[in-house]
């Protein structure tokens, strides 16, 4: 076994792992704040992908600038989805919110396939790659990972340094108590859903700069996000980032040793195992 190959695969996996982490953070934030598993997560990622693609291809804007527009739109889309589909079922049994977010999934995929079909698109953009002896890192991959780290830092700064962020954490901790303290919980829930969506769409935009995209591709990343979120502990954003790195590493390293088709077997096997053995995730706090 060649060590260089191993290192190169690991680095490749880790870099994409940061992006997975951002996508999963969106899912886990929403779950942590309102106990809703957002089944529209995948299609929202896909909207992010195509947002960057369309802006880059038809406006000619730099994809990283387009990402900012996509993020802002993502916030708005998330707030809209919250009020249309989630607000009425926020206190209903889990099945209701699972199905209502899934109905959003169907709407997005339905309209998306009608307009874009399911064929693959490609953001035709590249950055000079970084060459350090044994390993060559593609520029776009490195940039995506760096942006992902930046987004995580921003998220934490927001959650811990701003008033709205504190409100979000308070509502996540105990909504009733937060309401008694005068926190406008509906607005905060909508904001949290918006930020979760923003993260999903940003991740989608980043993926579009690295890999070919199609409207159904979001589904794959949604499933990956589930695995990551469970790895890191449902509701724990930093855990999601670490989970993303673990998943990226698995995806990078496993193909060196066995067929690529075994990767999902390992991923979902690990997923079920973690759920059974430590449902609070690798970094989740113990619940009484």
């Amino acid at each position: 076994m060649n060590l260089d190959v191993l290192i190169a695969s690991a680095v490749d996996g880790l870099l994409i792992g940061f992006v997975y982490g951002v996508a999963a953070m969106g899912l886990t934030l929403i779950f942590g704040v309102m106990d809703v598993i957002n089944l529209a997560h995948g299609p929202l990622i896909a909207i992010g992908m195509f947002g960057v693609y369309e802006i880059f291809t038809y406006v000619g804007m730099n994809p990283y600038l387009a990402l900012i527009i996509v993020a802002v739109v993502g916030l708005a889309v998330g707030v809209l989805v919250y009020f249309v589909a989630v607000h009425r079922v926020i206190d209903a049994p889990p099945l209701s919110s699972l199905l209502s977010t899934f109905s959003v999934n169907m709407m997005i995929i339905g309209v998306g396939t009608a307009i874009l079909t399911t064929s693959a698109y490609n953001v035709d953009f590249s950055l000079p790659s970084l060459d350090t002896g044994p390993i060559t890192v593609t520029g776009t991959r490195l940039a995506a990972a760096l942006i992902a780290v930046g987004v995580t830092a921003l998220l934490y700064a927001f959650l811990y340094r701003t008033r709205s962020g504190k409100y979000i954490r308070a509502v996540a901790n105990n909504r009733q108590a937060a309401e008694l303290m005068g926190i406008p919980s509906t607005r905060i829930l909508a904001l949290a859903f918006g930020i979760g969506t923003m993260l999903a769409m940003t991740a989608g935009g980043l993926i579009a700069t690295i890999l070919p995209i199609n409207i159904l591709a979001g589904g794959t990343y949604e499933l990956k996000s589930f695995v990551i979120v469970v790895l890191g502990g449902l509701g724990n954003p930093l855990g999601a980032l670490v989970g993303g790195l673990i998943l990226g590493l698995i995806e990078g390293l496993v193909p060196v040793f066995m067929k690529t088709t075994w990767v999902p077997v390992l991923e979902f096997g690990l997923f079920i195992l973690i759920l059974l053995v430590m449902p609070q995730g690798l970094f989740g706090r113990k619940e009484s």
Partner: protein, 320 residues
Amino acid sequence: MKRFTGLLLSVLAVIVLAVIPLISGKASTREAMFTILMAIALASSLNMLLGYTGYVSFGHIVFFGVGGYAGFYTLTVLGWNLWLSMLVGGATAALLAYLLGKSILRLRGAYFALATIGVNEAMRALVNNMDFLGGPIGMTMKFSVYNEYGGAANALWLVYWVLSGIALLVVIVSYLVKRSKFGLGLMAIREDEDAAEVMGVRAPSAKTWSYVLSAVFPGLIGMLFFFKNGNIEPGDAFRLHLSIELIVMVMLGGFGTVLGPVLGAGVYQQLRKLLLTSPVFKNIQLAVAGVLLLLIILFIPTGAVGWLRRRFPRLRRVLE
């Protein structure tokens, strides 16, 4: 007889649907009814877990796929006949459900729903790698197999009648479970698992058996379906989307009722056909279905049967 009035409508509905192809005698009608009856049987099976016990299985189709694969393997590779293969399919699905029941049914709420998705995806990925099951290409049945059952045309009718029988059986079992002490225990778990345990319901074993019961029939049907199809592949066998469609059917008709899944499956399939063939909605049928689903969840969360029961208390005796 009065005890069984609640069952009457569901059984009648299934029988009427099943004999429609006899009247028209056309293969196309039979195929349309096959789809509806299969949906009824699968949705009613799922309802025994989802509706009675209150556990949301998002990957229920895994039993359909596993049953199909196990049966298909014994039929094509080992050369067993259809009936034995069907039993193998059902038994394999039941065994898987039992093992899963012992493990993932400990999880509650959203965690269980996520785990079932994981199980389905893991199984699909695993089968993809199993060379003796044909890997990603799957397995194909020799056409001559149909000769044992009186040629292809006869075999398809035979499969249709067996499916109709299973659909009828599922509905009856679903009714019997609901009316039994076992079913009462399940519904107690649905309302409050801890309270049910305090009252003497053995929740772990009751949950496991309801899981097994809801898995057996999809296993049998999986084998029938892929026998009719003539081939099986991972993408068809473990289609997560079909799984979610089943939940939609149960919700549409009314979860936890016997008639609900029957009604929901029938209406959903008709609606789908209508949307797929309409020139306006053909391209965005999925989006239209999504809008309808959202409206149901938001405004009629108990489904059609639940709504009728609440609105017209007199119907409660007839609509079970």
